[in-house]
C-alpha cells in the first residue's frame, strides 16, 4: 500500500469519470434565492399573513391594522387615532354614546403589549401618506423618562408584533435598534427570513389549517363589532393601600393573585439606576414618528395616562430626561396637560395596578375625546361616530 497523498493514483483504480460539472456555487446561490422566494411568497405577500393566528402578537397587530384600514375608507376627514399599549384604555363606544359629539371620529389602534417601535411600523402602513389623520394620540406612562429593570431596546416581542410589517429594507435598521448582540441577530434573521419568527404560528396553522382559516374569517366578520362592544370588568382595586416607607401593600379581601402581582410588579417595583436608556429609546422611535409627520396636517398629541390606582411618590427615581417634552418643541407635536387625568388615579377606577376598569375607561375615553377636540379646535366638518 502506498503512503501519502502526493502519490499518483493506483493503476488498478479506474479514474474518476469526467462528467459535466454542476456549477455548485451558482447552484447554491439559486437555492438560496429560491428559499428567499418561497419565504417572500408565503410571508411577504399576505398569502399567509392574512391568516395569522388572531390571538398571536403578529395576528393581533394585523387584525387591528386591517380593522383600522377598513375604518379609514368609511370615516370622513376628521379622523383621529389613538395608539398605545394596553394601559391606553380607550373605548370608542363610550365616546359615541355621549349625547354631545365633537365632530371628530376617534378610533382606537391600541395594541396590548406594544411599544413605540411597534407603533412606528404599524403607523407606517396604517397611514402611508402621513396625512390621513387629523391627529394621532399617544398614551404614555410619563412625560419624564424613568428607566425600569427591563431594557426597552431589547424587547424582542416587537419582532413578533411587527413581523408582517417589516420590509427587507428594514432588516439592518431594525436589527440595530436592539441593544444585545443576540437580539440583534434574532431581529435581523427574522426580518430577512420571516418564516423563523413565524414558526410556531405556521406549525399551529399546519396542525389545523381549515380551523384557522375559518377562525380568521370569523374574526374578519365579527372582530370590529366585538372590540367595539368590549366592556372592561367592573372589578376594582378599592381598598388597596400602600405604605411607601416600607414598600408594602395592604390588599382588601377578595383581591386576586393576578391583581396583587400587578401591584408587586409595577407599583412596588424597585427603583433602578437611571441610565437614560428609556430616553434613548423614546427619542429614537417617537422621534421617527414625529419626523414622519413633519409638515403634515396631522397633529401628534401626547397624554400622560392615569398613573395607577395609587400614585408612586414622584421622588423615588431621579428622572434625568424628558424625551417627550423635548419632542414638544416640534410644530405639530402637542403635549396635553400632564395632570389632565389625575382625577382618574383612584383605586375604584382601576381593575389592577395598571389598567382602568369599566368606569375608568368610560371616564378616560370621554375626557380624552373632549380634550383632543379642544386641542384640535372646531372640526369644521361634522365627524361621525367611531363606529365598529
Amino acid at each position: 500500500m502506498r503512503k501519502g497523498m502526493a502519490i499518483a493514483p493506483s493503476p488498478t483504480l479506474p479514474k474518476t469519470p469526467v462528467r459535466k460539472r454542476r456549477p455548485i456555487t451558482l447552484t447554491l446561490l439559486v437555492a438560496c434565492l429560491l428559499v428567499f422566494g418561497l419565504d417572500a411568497l408565503l410571508f411577504r405577500t399576505g398569502l399567509y399573513t392574512s391568516y395569522l393566528e388572531p390571538e398571536s402578537s403578529a395576528g393581533l397587530l394585523e387584525l387591528i391594522l386591517w380593522r383600522e384600514k377598513t375604518a379609514q375608507e368609511k370615516a370622513g376627514d376628521n379622523l383621529v387615532v389613538t395608539l398605545g399599549n394596553s394601559r391606553m384604555g380607550f373605548s370608542p363606544k363610550a365616546v359615541d354614546l355621549r349625547p354631545r359629539q365633537t365632530g371628530y371620529t376617534v378610533r382606537n389602534a391600541v395594541v396590548a403589549g406594544s411599544d413605540p417601535r411597534a407603533w412606528y411600523y404599524l403607523l407606517r402602513d396604517l397611514d402611508p401618506t402621513a396625512r390621513r389623520y387629523r391627529a394621532i394620540v399617544f398614551g404614555i406612562d410619563d412625560y419624564d423618562d424613568e428607566d425600569h429593570a427591563f431594557n426597552p431596546d431589547d424587547d424582542i416581542r416587537t419582532l413578533h408584533y411587527c413581523i408582517a410589517r417589516l420590509r427587507l429594507t428594514d432588516a439592518i435598521d431594525f436589527a440595530r435598534s436592539f441593544h444585545s448582540r443576540a437580539f440583534r441577530w434574532e431581529a435581523f434573521r427574522g426580518a430577512v427570513l420571516k418564516g423563523i419568527p413565524l414558526q410556531s404560528d405556521w406549525q399551529a396553522f399546519l396542525a389545523h389549517p381549515l380551523k384557522r382559516i375559518a377562525y380568521v374569517q370569523l374574526c374578519h366578520r365579527g372582530w370590529p363589532e366585538w372590540t367595539y362592544n368590549y366592556e372592561e370588568t367592573t372589578r376594582s382595586m378599592a381598598g388597596l393601600q400602600i405604605d411607601w416607607s416600607t414598600f408594602t401593600a395592604t390588599y382588601p379581601p377578595g383581591m386576586t393573585d393576578e391583581q396583587k402581582a400587578t401591584v408587586h410588579n409595577s407599583l412596588l417595583e424597585p427603583v433602578v439606576p437611571q441610565t437614560g436608556r428609556l430616553d434613548h429609546f423614546l427619542s429614537i422611535w417617537m422621534g421617527r414618528i414625529a419626523d414622519r409627520y413633519r409638515g403634515s396636517r396631522t397633529k401628534i398629541i401626547f397624554f400622560r395616562l392615569p398613573r395607577g390606582p395609587i400614585v408612586r411618590p414622584d421622588n423615588l427615581a431621579k428622572k434625568r430626561s424628558s424625551s417627550i417634552r423635548d419632542l414638544a418643541s416640534r410644530p405639530n407635536v402637542i403635549l396635553a396637560n400632564e395632570h389632565f387625568f389625575d382625577s382618574l388615579e383612584h383605586p375604584e377606577l382601576f381593575k389592577d395596578a395598571l389598567h382602568l376598569n369599566r368606569a375608568g375607561v368610560e371616564l378616560f375615553s370621554t375626557m380624552l375625546a373632549d380634550e383632543v377636540a379642544r386641542i384640535l379646535g372646531p372640526s369644521g366638518v361634522p365627524g361621525g361616530p367611531a363606529g365598529k
Binding site: P9, T27, L198, Q199, A207, H208
Partner: protein, 464 residues
Amino acid sequence: MLFNTASFFLFLAVVLALFYASPRALRKYILLVASYFFYGCWNYKFIPLLLALTAIDYTAGRWLEKVPPGPRRKMVLILSLCANLGFLGFFKFYNFLGSNLAWVMDKPADAFFLNIVLPLGISFHTFQSMSYVIDVYRGQQQVVRNPIDYAVFICFFPQLVAGPIVRAHTFFHDLFNWQPPSAEDVSRGVLLLTLGLTKKMAFADQFAKVANEYFKNVSGNPGMLTAWSGVVAFGMQIYFDFSGYTDMAIGMAKLLGFHFPVNFRRPYLASSITDFWRRWHISLSSWLRDYLYIPLGGNRHGRWMTYRNLMITMLLGGLWHGASWNFVIWGGYHGALLSGERVLRGDRQIRKDWTWLYPLQAIVTFALVTIGWVFFRAADLPQSLAVLNQMFRGAEGHLLLANWHFELIGIALLLALAEEKLDWFERLLKAPMLAYASALALMLFCIEVFGVIDVKIPFVYFQF
C-alpha cells in the same frame, strides 16, 4: 462544536478552503490538525488519550507485521485489544461495574464511584481502531507505516465522534489514492449535508422536544396514548438525529474526497427485525457481524449456537451503547427478537420484494422496535417499566404529538417509500440544476419553518 451550528460550518469552510488551497502533500496534515482542533473544542484534555490509542494500535500494526503467525502474533493482538477495551472499559463501564459490585457486596451505591468524564466518541474510534488491528492480524489489511496516516484514520473529524465506523481498507484506499471529488461527489456531498441538517434541525429536534418533555416526567404524563406518543417521538428523534448526523458526516467526507459507506437505509421500512438491523447503523451491525458474530461461529454450528451467538452479539452491542442495564436489556430484547425470527423463519431467506403482507410486517416491526426504544431512552429500569406499563396498561391519556408532527412523519414516510422504490436521491443528483437547487431550497425552507434554531439539542449518539 455541534454539526448544526454556525461555528461548525465556519470551521468546515475554513478546513475546505485550506485543504484545497494547499499542496497535496500537506493536505493530510491539515486534516489531522483540523481533526484534533475539532476534538479539542469539546475537551482538549482528552487529546492525549486519543493520541495514546492511536499510538498503541499503530504500534500493534507495525509489530504484527514483524511477528510471524503463531502464539506471539496472537499475543500482540490480545495486547492491543486489551488496551483498547481497557480504555473503553475504564471510561465507559467502570462506574457501571462499580455500582453493581457495590450492590453485590452490600455497600453504598457510590462506594467505588469515580467522577469520570466519557471521552467524546470513544466507542466509535476504539471500534474503528480495533478493526484495523484485527484485519492486520487476519492478513486482510496491509500495515500502515506512516503514523500520520494512521492518526488521520482515527481522528478524521467528520466521523470522529459518532461514526460511521469506517473500515481501514475503505479509508486508506481513499487516503492513499486520493482524488479530487468529482462533480457528482460535490453534488452528493452538498445534498447529503443539507439533508442531514434538515433531518437534525427540522425533524429530530422537533421530536426531541416532545420526547424529552415526556421522559423528563413520566409519572406526570400518564396514559397509553401519552406513553406511545412519547416513545414514538423518541423513535423519530433517534432516527432523524443519527441518520442526519451520518448524512452530514458522509457528505463532508465526500467534499474532502473520501467515500464512506451508507449507514442507514430507511430502517423504519424494515419488514422484520433482521431486516431492521440490515438498515439501521449498518457500520456498527456489520462490525459486530464481522468481528463478533462470525468469530463466535455465526450460524455455522446449528440452530442453538446461532441463537446463542445472536444473543451474545446483541447483548454486547447493547452494552456498547452505554453502561447500564437498560442497554443490556435493549440488546437482549433485539437478540431475542432476532432469534425468535430465526425460529419462525427456519432456513428461509427474507423476501426482499414487497408482498401484500408487507405493510403489516412493517408496522409490527416498527412497533417492536419502538418498544425497544423504551429501554434505550428511559433513565433507568424502573422508568422503563413505568413507561411500558403505561403503554400497555395505562388509561387512555392524550397525544403528545401535534397534527403537524404527524404531517412531518407522513412527509418522511412518503420520501422514504419513494427512495425505496424510485431512488429519488440518485435521480436528483443527475437532475438539471434547477431541480437540484429546488430540492436544496425546499430542505432549507423546511429548516426555516420547522427547524429548532435557538435551542441546541446535542446529537443522541454523541453520548456513546
